[in-house]
Symmetry: D2
Subunit: 377 residues, 4 copies
C-alpha cells in the first residue's frame, strides 16, 4: 500500500518527542516523512533533513512557506498529514494555519493553551472534514483498549467509583537543585506551558484515560493544587475530585514531585459487578476483579480479547510491546482515517478529546484559584 | 514470665473480632484470658466460657458485675487488662466504666461514637495512669514500623505528598443483593455504626496509618462522600483532601463499593529525596523509591531494618507472617506497658490515636455535609 | 471443647522451631502444653517450664522418664500427643519410644536419618493405630490446599511437567565467612544432619509439595549435587531430574547458596488444559494459567475455593495469614485425628510422607554419588 | 547519516519474523530495505515488494540472482547487508552463498542445522572479514545488558549457580487438538526444524542468555527430554543439567507444553555476594538480591545503569519499551559494525554465538539419546 506523505513541524535534532513520532510512524509503516519545518532555525532544520535523507527542497523555512509550497504541489505529491510536535504554545497557531489550508493533522498534547483555541480548532476540523489526531499515547496500548471494550460491553455493571493516578518525580531534581534551578525548564514557565504544569502535562492524560475507557464525561471538578515551593508559578502536584452524574464520583491524583516515581499512570474503574485496573509501567497486564470469581489477568495476543485490543498488538503472546507501539497504533488508526478506511472510534483521540482536555485543565485551575470549589468542566 | 491476666467484653461464640484478639494474645504469649462478659446473653457467654475452659465464676453477667467482682479480688488474681471487642456504640460506656475502676484497656476501633467521648476517655487514661491500647492493627506490621522509622530518620527529605487508600468491595453484595438487603448489617445503621460507614470503619485506618508512619498531624480536611444508593444512610465511598501544614497536602481515598477489592489498604509518602510505599495485601514488602538509586525492597528479618521493625517479626526471612502476628505485636507492646517495661511509642496505638481518629471522622462528615468545604480536624 | 494435652521434646529456651510449634498450637487453640523434656540439660528445661507456667512435676529429665510417668497417669490427665522438635538425629529414637508407648506424635522433618528407620516408624504407627503428623508446614497454606483440590478435580487435564524450586542463600554467610566458619552449623555436619544438607533440609520440602499437591509419586531421580566448596562435606546445592511414570517428567531445584534468596519455595504443575503456580513468599496468591482464558488469581476466603482451602483460613479475604497459621492448620488437622473426628487426608502430612521423604533424600544422594544415574525412589 | 542498504531473504506477505526484522530496522533508523527474495514464489515476492514500495528490479527470483545482480552494482548502490529470515533449514545454504559473495549478514536463529555448518559459516565470516549478526533478540533488552555489565564488574562475587527457564504452552493446542493435528507445524518435523523442537527453538535462547550475561562457557550437559506424546518425533520439553567448570553447575529448563505459559524466559545467576534475576515478560525490571541489603530493582533510563544498558533505551524512565526495541538495538549495533564504527561486544550476537548454540542443541540431543549421560558441548 502506498505510504501516506507526512510532514512535521518541530522535532529536529535533539527533540525527543519528534523522534518518538517518527519511530511510531515507521513502526506502523503507513507513513513516509517527506518534509517539514523541523526547527525554528532554518540551518538546523536543513541539517536534520539531510541527516534523515529528506529532500532539501521540502525542508521549509516556516509553516507558512510549507503550506504555500505543498498546496501548490499536485495532489499525488502533496503532504497528506502534518505532525505538530512543537512546544505547547505553538500547537494552536500552527494547527489553525494547517487545518485552514486543508491538511490533516497529528498534534501533540496539550492541544492548545486556551479552551477557546481548542473549540476553534474543533470547528475547523469539522468544517474542513479533516482528520485530526491528538496523541494521547496511552490510549494506544492494547490493554487500555481492552479495558474500554470490556467496560463498553457492561462487564463492570454500574460504575461506582473511578480513580486515576499520574505520579512522576522528575521535577524534584530541578526544584531542589542548586544554582541554575528553573533555567530552561519551560514547563515551569506559564508563557510556554500555559496555565498549569502538573495538570496540563500529566493530569490531563489521566483525565483522558478516564473518558476514553469509560465513555463517560466528567461534569464537575474540585481541585487542590500545590506549587510545592514559593517561587514556583505553576502547580506541580494536585488532587482533583470528580463528579460524573448523579451519583458517580471519582478522583484524579497527579504529581511531578513524587520522588522516585517514573511514569506511574494508573486507572481503576470500580463497578457493582466487577472492577478493572491498569498500570502504565506494566502495560500488558489488565486486571479484572470480582467479588465472586478469581481475579483475571488479561494479556495481549489472545483470542479472548476484543478486536480493538487484538488488532493493536502484532507479536505473539508473551512478547511485550511498549510505548512506541502504542503510539504506532494511534498513527495506524489515523492513517486509516486519512485513507478513508473504516476504523473504530477507539483507534485515535480526536480534536474533541483536545477540547475536553483543555476544559479539564482550565476548570481544575479555576477551582483551585477560587478556593477549592466545584467548577463545571 | 507470668502471664498478664486478661478479661474480655464481647467476643463470644461466632464473634470474629474477639477471636482475632484472643489469637493475637495467644501468639504473643504474654496474656491469659481469665474471664469476661462474652455475650449480652449470659447463657451464651457461659457456654463460650465453658468451651474455652474459662472458670465459670469469672464469666460475669454484666460489665458492672465484672468490675465489682474483679476489684474485690486480691491484686495478684485480679484482671490486669480488659479487651473491649463489642459493637462500636458500646466501646465508650464500657471503656469509661472500666478505666474509672482502674483497669487497663485494649479497645477495638473506632474508639467511641463522638469526639467528646473520645476526649473524655483520654482524660481518664491520663488521670488514672493506665495503659490504653487502640487496635489499629496495621501498625503492628513489621514493614509499617520500618516505614515509620525510615521516615523518622529523615530518609525521605522533605515530605511533599501523602496518599493513602483503603478500598474494599464487600458492601456491593449487600446493597445490590435482593431481598433482605440491609438486614443485619449494623454498619449501615447510624445508631450502631455512628456517623459514618466507610470513613468510620476504614478511612480512619488510612488516616491513622498516615499519622503513625509520618508523625505528622492532619490539620484540615475537605471531603466528598457518597452513599452510592438513595436509601443508604451513611457514606460507602469517599475522597478526602488533606492539609498538613503550610505546603504539604495529601489525600485519603476509601470505599466499600470497589467490587472485587478485598482489603486494599495502601500508603505512599513522597519526599524530596525519596519516597516510600506499602500495601497491606503484601505486607512484608516495603518499597523505597529514589530518583538516583534503584528502588529498594525492604523485607522483615534482616539486619538492615530498624529495631522496632526487627523486633516485630519472629520467623527467619522469607517466612511470611500475617495480620494475626501484626495484632500480636500490638498486644506484646501493650503487655510491656502494663508490666512497666520499656517500650517504643510505636509499639501500640493509644487513646490519643483514638481521639485523633474520632476528630478525623467527624470533620470529614462535616465537610461533606457542609458542601465540601475545608474543616479543621 | 477440651484441649488436647500436649507434651514436647526439645524446643526449650532459644529454640526457634519449638517456639513455632507452640505458637501454632496456641493459634489453633486445640492444644495445651502440659509438660515435656525441653532441653537435654534438665536445669535449662526446668527454667523453660517455669517461664511457660508449666508444672515442674511434668518437666521430665528424659524421654524415658516422661513416658514412664505419663503412662502411669490416669487417661484423662495423660498427655495425648507429643511434639518432637529436637535436632534431626534424635527424631527417630524418641519417636520410636514414644510411639511404642502408645502416644500420638507430631514430628519435625526430616523424620529420620535412614529409610529403614522411617519404615520402622510407619509400621509402629500402623500397629498401634496412632496419629503421626509430620510438619511439612507448607502443606498448611490455604492456597497450597486449593492447588491440591483443583488438581484433584482434574482442572489441569493431563499433567505434562512438574517444576519445584527451593532456593535459599543463608549458608553463603557461613561458608564464605572468615574465622569460625562451620562452627555450630550442625546442618553441615553429617553426624547431625544426616546424608544431605540442601536436599535433606529443603529439597525434601519441594518433593513433598509435589506429591502433596498432585497425588503422584516420584518413581526415579537423577541428581547433580554440589558442595560448592572443597571442605564442605554435604550438598549445598543441586538439581534433581524426576520421572513419575511413562511420560511425565519434572525437576526439583534446591540450593542454600543463592545469595539474597530468602525462602523461595515455588511449585508449578503444567497440564494439557491448564497450569497452576504457587510461591511461598506470596502464599495467598495462586495462579491458574490457561491457553484460552485469562490467568486467574485464587485467594483465600472466597466462596470459589474448595472446602479444604476455605477451612484453612479464618480472616476475611484480603487479610493475609502467614506461615504460623499454616502450621496451625496442620496442628488443627492433627487434633481432629487425635479426637477421632472426621478429617480430610490433606489436613496433615503423615508418617508415610516421612517415609517418602527419606526415600527421596537417599535416592538423590545415591544418584549423585554413583555419577548422576537414575535411581528408583 | 546515510542509511545502510539492506536486502532480505524470506519475510514476504504473512511472514511474522520478517516483519519483526523490518520493524526493528525501521525503529533504529539505520537501514533501508532496498530489495530481496521475499518468497520462494516469485509472484508473491513481487507483490510484497510492490506493497512495500520496493523497486521491482531489486526483487529477485533467487538468492543466486540477487547475489549476481547486486555484486554487479557499483559499491555505493549495492546492498551492504542481507537479512536471512527463512525457515531454519535454509539459513545455512543462503548464508554460505551470501557470505562467500562478500555481503554482511543478519541471520535468524538457529543459525544452521548442524554444528559443522555453523563452524563453516564462522570460518567464512572470519576469512571475509564480514559482520554477521545472529538475532538472539533477548540480548537486546536494556536490562539484560545491564545484567551482563553488573556481572562483568564482579557485582555477584563468585558465581555459584545459574538457572534459566524458557516455558511456553502453545504446542498444547496442536498436540492435543483433533483432526489436522501436526499439519503445517514445521517445527515438529525434523526435516525442517532440525534435531530438536523445544531445545532448538527456545532452549537455545536460554543457553545463549546464560553465556551472554555471564561470559562463561557451558562445558558439559546432561539432558532429559520428552516428546510428551508417542507420535511426536522431536522433544517438546526437557531439563538440561549444566557444568561450567570445576564447581559451578546450573540448569536450563525449557518446554513448549506448559499450558498457559506465553513466553516465560527467565534467568537467575546466583553469586557468593549477590544474585541477579530477570524475566522476559517484565523486561524492564532487573532484580539484584543480597543477603545484607534490600533487594534492588534496576530499570532503564537511569544514571545508575552502565552505558551498554543506557544506550539501549531511548524513552525517559517509566516509559516501557518492548521486544521490537530489543531487536532494534541489535540492528543498531550491527549497523555500527557494518559502518566500521566502534561498538561494544554486547551489542549483537555473532556467528560464534551461533556455533555455540548449535553445539548446545546437538550435545543436549545426544545426551538424551545416549541415556542421560554427560556430553561435552
Amino acid at each position: 500500500m502506498k505510504k501516506i506523505r507526512m510532514g512535521m513541524i518541530g522535532g529536529g535534532i535533539g527533540a525527543f518527542i519528534g523522534d518518538a513520532h517518527r519511530r511510531a510512524s515507521r513502526i506502523c509503516n503507513d507513513f513516509e516523512l517527506v518534509g517539514g519545518v523541523f526547527d525554528a532555525d532554518y540551518e538546523k532544520s536543513r541539517l536534520f533533513a539531510e541527516k534523515e535523507g529528506i529532500s532539501s527542497d521540502r525542508c521549509y523555512k516556516s509553516v507558512d512557506a510549507l503550506i504555500k509550497a505543498e498546496s501548490a504541489l499536485p495532489k499525488e505529491k502533496r503532504m497528506e498529514v502534518i505532525s505538530i510536535v512543537t512546544p505547547n504554545a505553538l500547537h494552536y497557531p500552527f494547527a489553525k494555519s494547517i487545518l485552514s489550508a486543508g491538511f490533516n493533522v497529528v498534534c501533540e498534547k496539550p492541544m492548545t493553551i486556551t479552551v477557546d483555541e481548542a473549540i476553534e480548532l474543533e470547528k475547523l476540523v469539522k468544517k474542513n472534514k479533516l482528520t485530526f489526531a491528538l496523541t494521547h499515547t496511552y490510549t494506544g496500548y492494547p490493554m487500555v483498549r481492552q479495558m474500554r471494550e470490556l467496560i463498553g460491553k457492561g462487564a463492570l455493571g454500574t460504575i461506582q467509583r473511578i480513580d486515576a493516578q499520574y505520579y512522576q518525580g522528575w521535577i524534584n531534581s530541578i526544584i531542589h537543585g542548586t544554582g541554575s534551578r528553573i533555567t530552561g525548564v519551560w514547563r515551569l514557565d506559564p508563557k510556554h506551558a500555559g496555565a498549569s504544569s502538573c495538570m496540563g502535562d500529566i493530569g490531563v492524560h489521566a483525565f483522558n484515560l478516564i473518558e476514553y475507557t469509560t465513555g463517560l464525561e466528567v461534569k464537575e471538578v474540585l481541585s487542590d493544587l500545590s506549587n510545592v515551593k514559593e517561587d514556583i508559578k505553576l502547580d506541580l502536584d494536585g488532587t482533583v475530585l470528580l463528579r460524573f452524574g448523579k451519583k458517580l464520583k471519582g478522583v484524579i491524583r497527579a504529581s511531578q514531585v513524587c520522588g522516585g516515581e517514573e511514569n506511574n499512570l494508573t486507572i481503576a474503574v470500580y463497578g457493582s459487578k466487577a472492577s478493572i485496573k491498569w498500570s502504565q509501567e506494566n502495560p500488558n497486564f489488565l486486571y479484572l476483579l470480582s467479588d465472586t470469581e478469581p481475579t483475571r489477568i488479561y494479556k495481549p495476543a489472545h483470542g479472548y480479547n476484543e478486536p480493538l485490543a487484538e488488532n493493536s498488538h502484532t507479536m505473539p503472546s508473551g512478547h511485550p510491546e511498549g510505548i512506541y507501539e502504542a503510539l504506532a497504533n494511534i498513527y495506524k488508526g489515523t492513517g486509516k482515517s486519512i485513507r478513508g478506511e473504516k476504523f473504530d472510534s477507539g483507534e485515535f483521540p480526536t480534536v474533541h478529546d483536545g477540547v475536553r482536555g483543555m476544559k479539564f485543565i482550565h476548570s481544575v485551575v479555576e477551582s483551585n484559584k477560587e478556593g477549592n470549589i466545584w467548577v463545571k468542566v
